[in-house]
Symmetry: C2
Subunit: 342 residues, 2 copies
Amino acid sequence: MRNMDNRLRNADKITMDVIAKNLEVSKTTVSRAISGKGRVGRETRDKVLRYIESLGYKPNSMARALAGSKTFNIGVVIPDTGDRGDSPFFKDCLIGVTAASARRDYDTVLAVVSEGNYGNLERLVNGRRVDGIILTRQDKSGKMLSYLRRQDMPFVLIGSDSDSGVYQIDSDQKDGCCELTAKMLRQSPKGVALLAGPKDMGVERLRYEGYAQAFELAGLKVNESFVFWNSESRLDGALDKILKAGIKCAACSDDLICLKVMERLKQKGVSVPDRLQVVSFFDSEELENNDVPVTSLHVDTKFLSQKAGDLLIDILDGKNPDVCNYAKCSVLYRSSFRSNAG
Amino acid sequence: MRNMDNRLRNADKITMDVIAKNLEVSKTTVSRAISGKGRVGRETRDKVLRYIESLGYKPNSMARALAGSKTFNIGVVIPDTGDRGDSPFFKDCLIGVTAASARRDYDTVLAVVSEGNYGNLERLVNGRRVDGIILTRQDKSGKMLSYLRRQDMPFVLIGSDSDSGVYQIDSDQKDGCCELTAKMLRQSPKGVALLAGPKDMGVERLRYEGYAQAFELAGLKVNESFVFWNSESRLDGALDKILKAGIKCAACSDDLICLKVMERLKQKGVSVPDRLQVVSFFDSEELENNDVPVTSLHVDTKFLSQKAGDLLIDILDGKNPDVCNYAKCSVLYRSSFRSNAG
DNA sequence: TTGTAGGCGTTATCAT
DNA sequence: ATGATAACGCCTACAA
């Protein structure tokens, strides 16, 4: 009766064995034809491929995983926080990573972690359910990061980490700021003002560098008296000074500052973009929906995380990619500033 | 040298074989001790369990999957749409499902689909990478649904479908509306008004039924002249009528209507909740952040999707759960109405 | 209660 | 170029 059992199974469950028998070749040949590894005669291969196609056969991924000790799964860590605001970010991460995965025949599996509790991640690692992990910047303590290291589990961080040797990818804000500043410079001969945040913040520094680089590339020098650090607390003064100097363009280093700037300008009756053009180095929905929609630098999360997925799979494939990686930002042109370059 | 290879491997890769040998029992015994299936002597079992614990051994899930032809993975379908608004919903779905999965030793794998393209889903099904699927209400055409049926892939729908035999779970809005209305009835002897939408909409109907049920349970009769269908187009009249009649409570059937109602009341100088108490049968962030935050019926997506996960796994476990399932809504009390019951 | 052996469906290593 | 056969690590029917 064991036999009958098998016969029944073979009737509907198509496996390499069945295919091999029906085609009167060996499993090995079938396997090779499918994977493309190892030599197979053209004819034989085509025959197998055609047959498989006609049957709609798809290899069993679990068997493949076991045999190759490779799961073809990559894990993505997302936080379970109450914060609704970051949902779009994480959703885009998942979509991006999944896009990269699917393209290279991987699947995406989830690990939901909360403040200091990454049991879910451990499950994935312990059970060897994934070949690698994608981390997003939310683990302040870096516990997961060092955990993954201890476990020799390959991983990629979306975001930045100074820890050497951590594969990471971040949006290239410096480059973006440079690009956008350059565009403004072309329209504002008297210079471009920068309304920045605290000078000692990493991102702020980065944005400033991009801003400064644009000047350099244009053969100009930054006029530091129009770079307002901690501008939030003294917007009115800053804006007055800018307007008085006849400067036509101002960049805000993030959306919060920018929103306040727009409000102040409105109250002052200063028309944007006619009298002053404004951009933000960081995009947000509020900026898009503002009275006068604000041109800003957009971090394309899907694109970024797709590259993260590709990076991870490259690592898994034994390639030796760069440790630090960057994804270009894009400029979202809205009415507060339009490039006249094209 | 094959032998040496094996010895090396055994040194770091702990498998049942290794454990069995070190403990001088058979793999079978180890397996049984772990799974709890089949009889094992108490002593033996404890010995094995302790040893495993001390080693930090975790069974290889791929091997388990192959042997048991069960992946212990469940797939969740999420859409890749531009709509940012629904991100929180899907994120909560993922978190909820993952919570249920993890609790029962399953993992969650993603399928990202877009308008009419569910290749990603097919991958999961074809490669037998999942044991079941969770669908969320976004497939208008029902293509995925019928595809899964054809493939004999168990699935659960988050939302409602009239198609018979589709395992589904939805929030119990009728029940929630009833509960909330009942609470209001206790505070408003002259009755509770309902500002509804189009009478022919499914949800509207449902909400009305809940509303009506509360009256019934209280031994009262609905006064249909205070049920305003299509109220959006005649809010002013409706509100005047309500106020004139001395009614102290009004329910709006959704957030959009409610927001408008709140605006009108503000313009009229009618104080909420002092003069009129207001609730919404559907929650939204705007309602929470409103001038006067509005008490409303909240669909707990995490909870709902967690139950969806449990439902699916029940099915996979061969239990025979109900086809149609409901998850209770919760009332979020805010200042526009407070229950005096507790 | 415990052990033996075969099977799950691939991939990889040898031969031929 | 192709095939036999042994892994991969676990589960389970059957035997003892």
